[in-house]
Symmetry: C2
Subunit: 477 residues, 2 copies
């Protein structure tokens, strides 16, 4: 078991240094590697496979609800980028700009898309003419570039992978409904695929997206008590349509501006999965997004009965549709146990000669490291229920964690104490003045205005003015 120890020793303990634990895990589980340019990471096969799992699931949800995939150019002419005032102010400092080719300077500088509102708007301006052309429910999967100063794998990069949806509608109601429907889709993705209970709500004026009327967010609570904004949906009203002249003839032959939305989730979700479920042994992947759901490790694999049972079980599980692998390499079983725990594979199956004599194999569930003796011929039939129960256990544990770490503050002192402990703190405040003060005093930021806006106190504990809104605060990534 010395190899086993060696691998585990290489990760920092989660509660000793959460940030270091996270970085260690990203590298040791072979999710990513650094490239030669700071902030641009390499998505290694195991990390990219998690992203492919997310893509596949979300793509299905989006197509079922009538969305279509497209691909817009990587570059935005600088003049086009500057058309919507708030938007350009929000993004201009973070842009990366192509000014030249290998042989000549460009006549107009080209911005690498930090987000593609301007491109979709230009296209909609051309193809939307009548109410019959609406809605347009477009989405694209791509990478974007934002020149962030502080970067961390998956959480904040100069380049990241995401989907960006951009829709145009004939009415405000329909566009507002889309903004909230997508928020529901994101929440369901969290619950059903990632085993993460996202808190949803509206962003404050201060925190909303550059150019949006309303921004909504899904927030996840990491093990260290910090929140992670994991996706956003934006209602734009007609602001972009006016800037880009996206007009259509309505049913009464009147010219109207379209109502628009945009929304996205990114590879940041991989970071959320790591920091919500991971432990000192490494990753803990929820089974429906795990690239490998089951790893079979034969013990004394030179023995014929072990080989036979391994092949038989592998085929049976694969045929039943599970993502299953066998590791019959020459490494020691202990090394392998440690390796697949590090990689967070939900179920490990140990097939050894002694168990086999009795017709059994040993299943170990990664999240709680519990051992289960299961009859060889029952493994495949119990597997759907086993994965389901693992998923549910992870989700319920994460729900409990949110509940245990969500507080209501009636005084500013209470608020500060809770924020220090970590987690969400709900407080009713007077508005942006209080929000700014809170950030200055505690580094906590407004995560969301929950949909239930019941006031906790009538007076804002920070400014002593009338409380107008209830806000969930947290320190955040």
């Amino acid at each position: 078991m010395s190899n086993n120890k060696k691998m585990v020793d290489a990760i920092t303990a989660r509660d000793a240094d959460f940030a270091q634990w996270y970085t260690d895990l990203c590298l040791k589980a072979e999710l990513m590697d650094y490239s030669d340019v700071k902030g641009f990471i390499i998505y290694r096969p195991y990390g990219y496979a998690i992203w492919e799992g997310i893509q596949q699931d979300l793509n299905h949800r989006l197509k079922e609800t009538g969305h279509q995939n497209v691909y817009m150019p990587l570059v935005i002419p600088e003049s086009l980028f500057q058309k919507e005032k708030d938007h350009v102010e929000g993004f201009a400092p973070e842009t990366a700009i192509i000014t030249t080719t290998g042989v000549e300077e460009l006549a107009e500088r080209l911005i690498i898309r930090p987000t593609s509102e301007t491109l979709f708007c230009t296209h909609y301006q051309k193809i939307v003419n009548s109410y019959r052309d609406l809605p347009k429910l477009y989405n694209q999967w791509c990478s974007v570039v934002r020149w962030e100063k502080t970067t961390r794998p998956f959480l904040r990069g100069k380049e990241f992978l995401w989907q960006e949806g951009h829709t145009a509608h004939a009415t405000e109601d329909e566009a507002r409904k889309e903004t909230l429907d997508i928020l529901d889709i994101y929440r369901d993705l969290g619950k059903e695929l990632l085993a993460i209970p996202f808190v949803t709500g509206k962003k404050t004026e201060k925190e909303k997206f550059a150019g949006a009327i309303d921004t909504y967010s899904i927030e996840a609570l990491m093990h260290d008590g910090q929140a992670l904004q994991s996706g956003t949906t934006h209602y734009f009203g007609q602001e972009f349509a006016k800037a880009f002249d996206i007009k259509f003839q309505d049913e009464n032959n009147q010219q109207q501006y379209a109502y628009q939305t945009s929304w996205g989730v990114s590879t940041r979700l991989i970071g959320a999965v790591i920091m919500v479920h991971g432990d000192d042994e490494g990753l803990v992947l929820p089974p429906y997004v795990a690239p490998t759901q089951i790893i079979i490790i034969p013990i004394q694999s030179h023995k014929e009965e072990v080989q036979e049972a391994t092949n038989h079980l592998f085929k049976s599980l694969k045929q039943a549709g599970f993502r299953v692998s066998v590791d019959d390499s020459s490494k020691s079983p202990g090394w392998k146990f440690s390796e697949y725990e590090m990689k967070g594979v939900p179920v490990r199956i140990e097939i050894g000669p002694r168990d086999l004599e009795k017709g059994f194999v040993t299943l170990v569930t990664r999240y709680n490291r519990e051992k289960h003796q299961v009859a060889l011929n029952e493994v495949t039939s119990i597997m759907p229920q086993m994965l389901r129960s693992i998923h549910d256990a992870l989700y319920n544990k994460a729900v409990e964690f949110v509940q245990e770490n969500t507080y209501q503050a009636k005084t500013y002192d209470e608020f500060k104490a809770y924020i220090k402990k970590g987690g969400y703190v709900a407080m009713s405040i007077s508005g942006e003045e209080a929000e700014v003060q809170i950030k200055k005093d505690t580094t906590a930021t407004a995560r969301v205005l929950p949909f239930d806006q019941t006031l906790i106190t009538k007076t804002c504990p920070v400014t002593q003015k009338s409380a107008t809104q209830t806000v969930w605060f947290a320190r955040a990534y």
Copy 2:
């Protein structure tokens, strides 16, 4: 039928002006649109869906053969890009370069990847240490940027979408095998998905990839007799490994440089599909890659029996796994017929009250516009065979077209006459001197050295020197 006429009139006849026909079709079938930056196109939903079909099919083939997807950064530091001499010479003029952000000049210029050999090599240098780490069979789906002067939708763009595979192996044999195995996979993709018979072979020294020892290609013959290079695979030997110091310890504890390959197909395949199968009515999509395989058009859809039959048939076909849609919009049937012919939907089903009285519906196969009366309750069960026979007919037609337009030239005059007619012309030449002369005289270029290198003549008809190789020439996109 006046609407019908109007739509069709908008496309240039294919034999009148093939280039214009192509552009008309790309726009009218709503495959793409132009953006504000020349050479960067918008992939509209219908065009992007074709790409998604290609991705899905090829991804499956690659994963089945042990390849893994990754994602490398969008940008390459200029110093890294310059590490392999031939490679940089080939690509440097076409590069787009980020020199600044919204707030400051970059310390080192960053090249937008025109291809990612240098990035994969840098990564392999870090992660390959032992023969046990090999082979590495990585692939990525992404967009690349090459600053081309002349651009055409899907065929040649400043940005295009593709997959690029990059592999590292312990032996030359294994790497050479990979190069040819992937060529076979590409050929199978053509035959089984796109109904295109790709001609395969090696590129001449003159035409090979910058940095490669050997380049292989799949070539397709367009309706106008011009060839289209549709994908390439490259054997690099150890050249990149030496430039990037990718060494591993072999089984005898000796340090060795790795042997590498790379290979790619791009959205150019969409252009091939258009130009191989399309006709004067528009696109003709092979059924297995068609985003919509079957379009159901109810005639007099207000009649209850028509509605019922439509719903019933739609559900039945969808349940059976076909990509099927219903168009019950208020447009005239004639308009719809024309629209879906333009879009190349393989099978149209017309459901009208008169046919229904007899228990029939009318199926029209797009490629030959033949009508088939089929009993309503047999449509779903005959559909697999119908799609198969459409696919086979398209493929066989394309094979015949290649056969009819492939010539052997024993004299240079013969050669020139054939090239003028269009198609492939095989000739045995002395080498690069002849190749250069041929291009100068006829604009034809060497497409491939076929695997069967039997000489047609002993003397090169161009230089009168000894013939050393048999080459297929064609004018090409």
